[in-house]
Structure formats: C-alpha cells, structure tokens
C-alpha cells in the first residue's frame, strides 16, 4: 500500500517535468512581449527599453531560458511576475485560497444535489421524477456555463431588487466593502456574496453527476448480491443506501478527480464574470499581458493539484474496491 503510493508519487515527477516542458515551449513561442506595456509611456527611450529587456533575460535562447527557469523552480523560486514584480508563488498564494473556497463549496453543493437526485432517479427508473430530473441534467450539461452566469446576474442582481433598491444578490466581490474589510467581514456577508458564483460553478457539475450517479446505481441495482440482500428480507431503503450506494460511489469518485480540470476551467469563467479574485482571473490577466512566469506557475500549480487529486482518487478507488490489487 505505502509502496504503491510512493511509486505513484515518483511517477508524478517525470510527468510534471514533461508538462512543464510542453507549457514552457508553447509559452515561449507565443508572441507578445512584456516590454510592450512600456509603450504607453511617451518618455521612454530605446536605452530604457533595452535595459528592461536585458534585466528580464528576454533575449536569451529558448533552452537557456528553460534551464534557468527549471533551476529556479526546483529551488522554490517560481520567478517574478513581470507585471507586479512580486514572486509568482506569492501571487498564486494570494489567489489560490479564494479559488479553492469557491471550487470546494461548489463541488460539495453539486454532490449534495446530484447524488440524491441520481439515486431516486435510479430507484424509480422511468418514473415522472426520473424523466424530469434526466431532462434537467441534460439541460445542465448543455448550457454554456458563462452564459448561465450572465443570466444569474441579469435575474438576481439586475432585475430583482431588495426593498432599498440594491441588488437582491451581489453580482461581484467577496464582501461588502462599505461595511467591512478582510479582517472584519462576517461569514454571513461572505456567504451572500458566494451564492451566485457557487450556483454558476455548481451548474457545471450537477447534470453530469446526476447522470453518473443514476447510471452507476442502475448498474449496481441489477447485480446479484442486491437480489440476495433483498431476498434475505432486508429493507429496500437499507439495500439502496448501504449496499448499492457504497458500490456506486466508486465510479463517482473517479469522475470527481477526472473532472477537476473542467472545474478549474469553470472557475476561470466564474471569476471573470463575478470579479472573484482567484487564480482563474489571474490567469486571464497574465495571458493578456504576456506574463510568462506567472502563466507557467498557474498552469503548473493546477496540474499539480489535479495530479494529486487523481492520486487520491486512485487510492480511494483501490481502498473501496476490493477487486483492485496494489502491485
């Protein structure tokens, strides 16, 4: 078991190496130039520019740049954001908690909604409830998530108002700046500001997870041992909840991990639309100003999180499914 985990962790190293190389080369070949921002300044001379470019090492050949970057990264120095001059890790560090808070809340809500619906749909296959929920799940999978976010703002922030004329639900920000700051913002106000972004992000997954839960429950419900359990006279509720759900959980866990890249993608849209200061928006900003080191850092951080979650899912899978052996 321990050996299995260690081996999997060791396997991550070449993968991260490969990913970093792919992304680095792609980024370096991309046009655009961090020195471009200087052009706004009419007092700038060529010498000013040349010094700027020299300092950033913009004129080194590709492989030198990569080796420099790799060496620094391995020492925990992920580079400096060209724009803010702050270390990339600091930049990410200040945004990552905000993104994770949004994502984890959204995932929990997604599962809380999707799993019960999926179970009921499967148990009462072909009932009215099943038809309605399947249709909704389908709609959820087909709706462009950013458009859904826009519609949420249109309805809950622009159309519906509170008694004093303010928006019913805030369409941006993390808390009310008129009343609070980072230290004093109360939980309730933060929660209110999370409702719409979380709803948008959860929308991404509810349909998918409902369908997966329903599918794997149906599969499990057909199995022989459940018939046995029933035949033994166990209550239907117990059969479904204990036996069936335990087995149906396995594929759901896999999907949860595999789905992570798309949740990160969804976070980009959510954060853009709701001005949520997370990693997704940081990425878009960095892409728009050719901030290479920062882009690299964000993609690597994401890839690392995804790989770690994949590992956790694999191991959980192995633990839950006695048929899988570690070797």
């Amino acid at each position: 078991m321990t050996r299995y985990i260690i081996r999997r962790l060791l396997q991550l190293i070449p993968i991260m190496f490969l990913i970093s190389m792919i992304v680095f080369v792609l980024l370096q070949l991309a046009p655009g130039d961090p020195a471009a921002a200087l052009e706004d300044n009419p007092n700038l001379t060529a010498e000013d520019r040349a010094r700027f470019e020299e300092r950033l090492g913009l004129n080194d050949p590709l492989h030198i740049k990569y080796l420099k970057w790799l060496g620094n990264t391995l020492q925990g120095n992920w580079g400096i954001s060209v724009a803010t001059k702050r270390p990339v890790l600091d930049e990410i560090g200040s945004r990552l908690p905000n993104t994770l808070r949004l994502m984890i809340t959204a995932q929990v809500i997604t599962l809380l909604i999707a799993i019960p619906i999926g179970i009921v749909s499967a148990v009462k296959q072909y009932s009215l409830f099943d038809h309605v929920s399947t249709t909704f799940a389908f709609m959820g999978q087909s709706i462009p998530v950013f458009w859904f976010g826009l519609m949420l703002i249109m309805i809950f922030s622009m159309t519906l108002k509170t008694a004093d004329g303010g928006p019913l639900l805030p369409g941006g920000g993390m808390y009310d700046l008129r009343l609070y700051d980072e230290a004093t913002a109360p939980f309730a106000d933060r929660l209110r500001h999370m409702i719409l972004p979380v709803a948008m992000l959860a929308m991404l997954g509810v349909g998918t997870y409902t369908r997966y839960t329903r599918g794997s429950m149906l599969e499990v419900l057909r199995q022989d041992y459940l018939r046995t359990a029933r035949a033994k006279g166990q209550k239907e509720r117990r059969v479904v909840l204990i036996h069936a759900l335990k087995n149906a959980a396995i594929p759901i866990i896999t999907i949860l991990a595999l789905d992570l890249p798309s949740v990160f993608g969804g976070a980009v849209f959510t954060e853009t639309i709701f001005s949520w200061p997370g990693m997704g928006r940081l990425f878009i900003d960095a892409a728009n100003r050719s901030d290479y080191d920062l882009l690299m850092g964000i993609v690597l951080m994401n890839a690392m999180l995804i790989l770690i979650f994949n590992l956790i899912a694999d191991v959980l899978y192995a633990v839950l499914d006695p048929r899988v052996r570690f070797d």
């Binding site: 130039d33 471009a36 921002a37 009419p42 200040s94 984890i104 303010g166 993390m174 200061p277």
Partner: protein
C-alpha cells in the same frame, strides 16, 4: 498501512485542503450601528473585590443592556471603482495609468499639474521658472540650473520629516543602473544635483533640457524604501509611504485596496475630509457603471464617450467631462511593408500609401464628424493634430479636414488609381508607387477587445469602400501590437499598412513631437528600434524645426515651431487624427470638492473630497 488507516489519511488530506481554503474567514462580527439602539452586550469582567478584609480577584461573565449611539458624523468614505488593477505602486516602475490613480492619493511630487494644464507647486513652494529667478540658463556654457524651495514642516505618513535628501534619493534611485526605473529620460540630462540646505534642491542640466519642469513628479522616502539597486524588490512597491492625504492599510489582490486618512498630512486635521478611500477593482467599466447606479460605488474611473448617455441624468450620478489629452489616430505606413524596417522610405515607398495623394484621399473620404456624432455621441471633438490641448499648441490654428468623397475620388484618379475592371475596387493604372494592376487593398489593425475601436474600424471600412478602396481588419492583442523591436513587433519593423490607436502626449510637447516626426526617430536596425516614427515619415523642414524647438527655453519660439511642424504634417498626412478623446469620469452626486483633471490622476485633489449628506 491498513485500509482504514489509509481512508483516514486521505480524509485528513482533503480536510487540510478545505481548511486551507477557509483560512481567512475570521469570524468576528462587527456591526455598524446607524441609529441609537439598545444592544445586549456580553462581557468578561475581571475585578478586585474586597471580601472579609481580603482582596480577591474575581472574573465573571456579565450580560447587560447598553445604549449604543451611532458614531457622530458617520465615517466619510468614497468607494472608487477601478477597472484595472494596479500591478505595482512604485511610481518609477509602474507603467499603468491605474497605478497612478492609487498612488496619486498617497504620493506627491515637487510640482504637479492643474486641471487647466498649468504646473502647480506641490511639495515645492513655487514652480521654478525664468520669471521667478529659480531657473537660470547660461547660454554660453549651455548649463541650465533649477532651484526648488521645499515646503516646511512636511511629514511622511509614518511621521518622519520630508527633506531635500529624499529628493536627492529619488534621483539616485532613478539613475541607479540596477534599479530598473522604467524611464530615465530627463534625469539622465542632469549633470549635478545637490541639497544646499535641508529644504533647497539645486538641479543642473547640460546641455539644455526643455521639458525639465515635468521631472520629480513623485518623491520617494529614503528611510522607508531600500537601496536603489534593490528597487525592484522594495516592500515599498506594494505598500508605498508618501506625503499625500492618504495611506494604505490593506490590499487584497484582485479585490480592493483600502486607503485611510493620513494623520500626518500637512493640512491635517482639516484635510483630507474623507476617513477612507477604498479602491474597488472591477472587471470592466460597465460593472462600475452598474455599481454607481445602485450606490455601491461613488466614483467610476475612465469612462468612454459612448456610455455618457447611459449615465447622464441618472439619479444620484454626476458625469464629469473635459477635453482629454489622448487623440485616436490612424498611422499610415509610408514605406514598403514587405521590407523589414527600411531606412530609405523615399526609395522604397508603400505601393499605395507612398503617394501623398492617396493619403490625402483617405483622409478626405473619412467622415470624422459622423464618427464623433454617432459613436461618441458628440462627446469628443474632431481630431486635427497633436497640439489640440495644452500650452504647446497655444495660438496654433489647425483646421479639421473636410469630408469630401468626391475630392477623394478625384485625388485617387489623379494618382493613377482607377477602377478599370469594374469590380468596385480601384487598382493601379498608371500610378507611381505600385505595379500596374495592384488593387487598392489595405489592412487595418488595432487592439482586440476594444469595442469603440472595432466600431470605428467598421465605419472607416465603409467610407473607404465608397471611394473604391478595399480595407480589411486584422486586429491583434495590445501586447502584440505594442511589442518591442526585439520581439519583432510589426509596428516597430514597419510591416503594416494602417494602424489605429490612441496616444496621450505629456504636458511638454517636445518628446512626443520629436519622436513622431523627426526622421532620426524611425525604428531601425541601426538604432535598435528606438523611436516612434512608425510611419517612416521624412521631411527635412520638420527635422530642422524640431531640432530648433528642443534647443531653446523660449516658450513662444517653441510654440511657433511646433505649430509649423503640425501644419506640414496636415499636408503630408502621415497620420490621420480621428478624434480627440474626452476625459470622462462619473461620481456620486454627493461627492464634492473633486475637479476633473486630464493632466493628472483623478485622485490629485482627493484631500478636498467630501461626501455631502
């Protein structure tokens, strides 16, 4: 490890992630009391009681009803919506306008710019000039000496005194080769700088440097920064200490920056009137516009002309408009775009734009009035040149071009571009600059994602189609358009037909006039792509006039020379000036004391801001 143990470990890991995610949620509830009300308060009280002659310390929990009164004269605050997050606040590293808006409320310079475009003293007692004797020019030795008398009793926001040494330090920091200041121009002309006493700075330039007054616009404290060579890494860059009316207490990246009253401000305690100035980062202008209508913000920065009708007359909103410094223009490439950065545009002309009649025809075909009226709702003014605003153009009459498609077609006919094959697009039939049969097809490029520019492009394409010129769009991200020589940016290397963007000149016209129109300022291999004469425009008279203007302190002479250059430019049409942008900001109508200023940041007078009831 058993399976059970492992599940626990995994759950622990997941739990850690969740904890990390929730970490900044301090559950400490502050309630703002707006009216006098009864509140139940629970307190832990420790008191000493004398009990049977012995002193005993007793701790107990007390719940009592207390009458709480609202803070008299409620907190005065302004929430300022900024659609661009400052990346860094060090005034000599930052390149964004947004950075200036934030540090404008904290950092001051020796001299500033008033709303009228005049220099005004800030940390200096008066603006140095020949008239007040603080500027002297030794023509024989070509030495310019500028003396600044600094205000007395000024303190940094941390309480340390402001002295001439800080001015000297600012100069040292800019000029340190390691410091990475974005621009050293002007400061590199300084031959000597010294503090003759605590409050007197003497700066010597040689040779003569015309736009000297614009220097020292921000002063940095020696004691609260670091070594000049370390400037890129100073903590100051994200938490500046200034002499201005506000100081920073909090910066939540991507969300907001909180500034509070600087108790050590020289006009304290009367000014600033505001207790807090919160900069709220919004993803777009439009979000800010929506927020000001619901009263969630009090100031929306940098609006465009097209949205003025959306806000004007809205309850609670005041729109501030003044002619701006930026001019939206088309750059016409006069050199062959297939040659990388030619130094000889005269013998390698652009096949279409190399002929002055074609350039004149394009200008005559464009209906600038309609662009202004329809796209900008008449809020801007039709462009004429660089000198539309500020002292550089005083007394210079420049007439706008006239919209005349007939004249445009006549000019094209005359230049040998006619539509012989009847497809609606002219081609070269006896023209001077292109091979016979070359169709009049031109590419126009601007930055992507700018709705107003995209709209203007559409109109221009239609105007040109009406006179038989086929124009098509190929927009690129701004980083690419404004890319450097080294990155091979097509603008620098002259590989384009027509470009469109805005440039905002500084208060002194010299650097931009010289850089746009002097022949030595074409980006070339030889000068490593410096200069901004992207049109590769050549005119010997202009070269001479620009050189003369840079060599004299006499303002009227300089004005006359710049005007002469601009009139020539109007004839030669290397650029087509579409419209002069208006400077537009919206505020809550409760905000008083604010005066719009196109020459400076809008927070320039934030010490005067007040929220009326």
């Amino acid at each position: 490890m058993s399976q059970k143990q492992f599940v626990r470990l995994a759950l622990l890991l997941v739990g850690l992630f969740i904890l990390a995610a929730c970490q900044p949620q301090t559950v400490e509830v502050t309630r703002v009391v707006t009216e006098t009300e009864q509140v139940e308060v629970t307190r832990v009280v420790t008191e000493t009681v004398t009990e049977q002659g012995e002193q005993v310390e007793v701790t107990r929990v007390v719940t009592e009803e207390v009458e709480v009164t609202a803070v008299p004269a409620a907190q005065q605050e302004v929430i300022f919506a900024l659609y661009q997050e400052p990346q860094i606040l060090n005034p000599y590293i930052a390149t964004q306008t947004a950075s200036g808006e934030v540090n404008g409320a904290m950092i001051e310079g020796l001299v500033g710019a008033s709303a009228e475009g005049d220099y005004i003293p800030v940390l200096a007692q008066e603006v140095p000039s020949l008239a007040n004797g603080l500027v002297t020019y030794d023509e024989a030795a070509d030495v310019l000496t500028v003396t600044y008398n600094l205000k007395e009793g000024v303190m940094w926001s941390d309480g340390a005194p402001f002295t001439c040494d800080d001015v000297l330090f600012t100069y040292e920091a800019i000029m340190d080769p390691e410091s990475g200041a974005v621009s050293t121009s002007g400061y590199d002309q300084i031959t000597n700088m010294e503090c003759s006493d605590e409050l007197t700075a003497v700066v010597t330039y040689s040779p003569f440097y015309a736009p000297f007054t614009g220097l020292f616009g921000s002063i940095m404290p020696r004691h609260a920064t670091g070594a000049p060579a370390e400037m890129q890494r100073w903590p100051y860059n994200w938490h500046p200490i200034g002499t201005g009316p506000f100081k920073m207490t909090e910066w939540v990246p991507g969300d907001h920056i909180t500034l509070v009253k600087n108790e050590n401000y020289r006009e304290a305690p009367e000014k600033p009137y505001l207790d807090r100035l919160v900069i709220r980062i919004t993803p777009s202008r439009e979000v800010g516009m929506a927020l000001i209508q619901t009263g969630e913000v009090d100031f929306v920065w940098d609006l465009i002309e097209a949205v003025v009708p959306d806000l004007e007359g809205k309850p609670g909103v005041a729109v501030h408009i003044t002619p701006g410094i930026g001019t939206e223009r088309l750059l016409l490439n006069m050199a062959d775009p297939t040659i990388d950065a030619t130094d000889d545009p005269a013998n390698n002309p652009h096949p279409l734009l190399g002929d002055v009649r074609v350039r004149q025809a394009i200008e005559a075909a464009i209906n600038k009035d309609e662009i202004n009226d329809v796209l900008l709702f008449g809020a801007a003014s039709v462009g004429t040149g660089e000198l539309n605003i500020g002292w550089g153009g005083a007394g210079c009459e420049l007439t706008p071009s006239t919209f005349d498609p007939e004249a445009a077609m006549a000019l094209l006919d005359e230049a040998g571009f006619t539509d012989a094959d009847g497809d609606g697009i002219r081609e070269c039939n006896g023209c001077e600059t292109a091979a016979a049969g070359t169709p009049m097809r031109l590419k126009i490029q601007t930055t992507t994602g700018n709705q107003l520019r995209e709209q203007a492009e559409q109109l221009i394409i239609e105007y040109l189609a009406d006179v038989g010129i086929d124009m098509f769009i190929e927009n690129v991200p701004s980083a690419e358009l404004f890319g450097s020589w080294a990155s091979g940016a097509f603008r620098k290397h002259g590989m384009y037909d027509v470009l469109m963007y805005t440039t905002s000149p500084g208060i002194d016209p010299h650097s931009f006039m010289f850089d746009f129109f002097h022949s030595s300022r074409m980006p070339l291999e030889a000068n490593e792509g410096s200069g901004t004469n992207y049109m590769r425009y050549l005119n010997a008279d202009n070269d001479a006039a620009l050189e003369a203007a840079g060599a004299t302190p006499d303002i009227p002479t300089r004005q006359q020379l710049y005007c002469q250059v601009m009139q020539q430019v109007q004839q030669d049409v290397p650029m087509i000036y579409l419209y002069n942008r208006a400077e537009i900001h919206a505020t809550s109508d409760k905000l008083t004391g604010y005066q719009i200023n196109t020459w400076d940041n809008q927070t320039w007078d934030s010490e005067n801001w007040q929220m009326s009831e």
